[in-house]
Symmetry: C2
Subunit: 384 residues, 2 copies
């Protein structure tokens, strides 16, 4: 990270942890062998790859052979959707990958509440006898709202049991995209009660373009990419050894520091929120007040233009986001803000400030002052 910037966009991308890069480096150079080759140095590479998968599995309470390494969360989500062909239930604030995958088949899109919370009762109502998949992200990437995954899992478990009682063999699975939140929230698959879970290394200071899908052994995935039969035939292609080893290290570090980091970020975020709300009592905080990622602050300054603010802040070396990265380059209003019913004049003045490893008391204090100055100056400009 270039030290001249104060980076407040950890939800869009995280810098790779140097400890992660260190464990990856050998696989870029000396240990470059194809893990399918028969000689000992290649077998050692294969073993390291399997160890990394084992470590990833252990970290989430799953088994190694339930993990498919992918090129990122989007591919994982698409693969999760391959498990069934039937009706799916998703919410209107889900990531584009989930929404697009859902729209390719029979689906029901339920509404999140005004805090971006997806209530288990709302999911329950949307489940039909034909529903085979429910997909809910652990935390919304724009608002930071953390979803009641265990409650939703309970609903799905009940539905499954009721089908069993009635001799109905239609399966129903619960997929959770935990890309946002895994560094802050417990992601044990058994405790969450999910059947499938997506993780993304690039969001937890690991290598980019590396993800995984965990799918319990009872779930039957369909290969999207066929060929040499790697990953138990589900995802062919030479294995990403460096990426997987780095991913395992990143998840290790994330798990190890999870509680500490949650508290640290929450304190910094609350400080920043307090400063901004005090300076601008008309500002609107979105996302659930309690169930929210520790580093997330979604704040709207009514009647201001978010893009102008982003550029003004960039001139002061503070990097922030407006809307989600996926939608950012399309010039359209965020579907999430529309979904939670934010009025256009509020939505259009929204900044997403996401704190993380690069945040500390010092630069968050500075950022608060700079944001206050720039927002004041914008309000002065528009009221002229």
């Amino acid at each position: 990270m270039n030290n001249e910037f104060i980076y407040l966009d950890h939800a869009a991308a995280t810098p790779i942890d140097s400890r992660v890069h260190d464990v990856m480096r050998p696989y870029f150079s000396d240990e470059f062998y194809n893990p399918s080759s028969p000689y000992a140095p290649a077998v050692a590479v294969r073993r390291r790859y399997e160890e990394a998968k084992h470590s990833l599995a252990q970290n989430i309470g799953g088994k190694s052979d339930e993990i498919i390494i992918t090129a990122g969360a989007t591919e994982s989500i698409n693969l999760a959707f391959s498990a069934t062909t039937g009706h799916v239930v998703v919410a209107n604030i889900e990531h584009h990958a989930v929404l697009e995958a859902a729209k390719a088949r029979e689906h029901t899109i339920v509404e999140a509440d005004e805090n971006g919370l997806i209530l288990a009762e709302v999911i329950a109502v949307a489940i039909t006898p034909q529903t085979q998949l429910v997909s809910v992200a652990l935390a919304n990437n724009e608002l930071g709202t953390v979803q009641p995954i265990r409650d939703i899992a309970e609903i799905i478990k009940n539905e499954r049991q009721s089908r069993q009682v009635h001799g109905d063999i239609t399966p129903i699975y619960f997929h959770c995209d935990a890309s946002q939140g895994v560094g802050q929230i417990d992601c044990n698959v058994a405790r969450l009660g999910v059947d499938m879970m997506t993780l993304n290394a690039g969001k937890i200071y690991g290598p980019k373009q590396v993800g995984l899908l965990w799918a319990g052994n009872h779930v039957k995935l369909s290969p999207q990419i066929v060929g040499g039969g790697q990953e138990r035939g589900i995802r062919s292609g030479t294995e990403n050894v460096a990426g997987t080893v780095g991913f395992a290290k990143a998840l290790d570090l994330a798990s190890e520091h999870r509680k500490y980091e949650f508290e640290r970020l929450q304190k910094l975020r609350d400080f920043l929120q307090e400063k901004l709300i005090t300076a601008f009592p008309n500002a609107v905080i979105s996302g659930h007040p309690k169930h929210r990622l520790a580093g997330h602050l979604h704040i709207s300054f009514p009647n201001l233009d978010a893009e102008r603010m982003v550029f003004a802040l960039e001139n002061r070396n503070v990097l922030v986001a407006t809307g989600s990265a996926c939608a950012a380059n399309k010039g359209t209003r965020s579907h999430v803000l529309t979904a939670i019913g934010l009025a256009p004049e509020i939505a259009d003045g929204s900044l997403r400030l996401t704190l993380g490893h690069l945040s500390d008391e010092n630069n968050i204090g500075q950022a608060a002052e700079i944001i206050i100055e720039e927002v004041k100056s914008e309000y002065a400009r528009v009221s002229r």
Copy 2:
């Protein structure tokens, strides 16, 4: 690369060129931004990504917006097959990715000749009025045989013209997997006459798990992975900036040194072949005697066991392959050797020796001596 080994398996994996790693490194650390983020440092990352795609395109004579970056050749091949749903023609020596993708739909599998050559006439006979795709690899990864791509392209062009004349709008495309060979053979898409081409960074001293599919603007691909709409909606997911920048550098270097490297490797390979054939006149060289990759030597020692030889050579620090990497860990006989009609007692004693950047006069001379010693000792053992 660990210097203690003589590496003769460049077709399975190549070590990353340090110049490639150098251009990638910033995107692992300082320049970690999401290319979709709006602020200038992220816009610079986006620009660098687009430049890398432009450079890749220029290198093969295509346009930047005709290139989809993927996680490797297998994904590229699967994506190429998405362009049509109709009948495909492939050969029996193609990579598993091609064969599996073909088998998922109506297909004809033609036979390569005893040198692993796929004759244009054989393709011509297999094309029906329903054929929408022909897929032929530029060079076979086991034998090194280089295919008559231009001749096959001519056949397909004729078929297309004949359909046009008859008012038949059924499209027919020609896809070429050039993963093996791009560092040694001209891969200009116009000169080859292909509609789609797959390349793999990991085979040309670039980063692993990075590939591309070039598809001419007249080809309509179907997205396999949906979501944020990256890569013109064909392949969603945050872009692989480091990988693409590294890929562009690797292809640059490969193109720059192509002719020199071809001659250098051919000389080394011919030297090695001559040494081995002189020592073992009963050995069988497979692959086309003339149309063959410069670094490829596929040699069979009748009645010997290839796996035993691989381990014996490994004990002498010489790393070689038996069969292709994809099939190597399955304990089955290579489908390519079966396809070219090699008798089992010959096929089972086959080594694939592939030379590359790590090969020089010195270590190839050493390798020749070691291989001769070990093969002699194996023959002595089996004749006891």
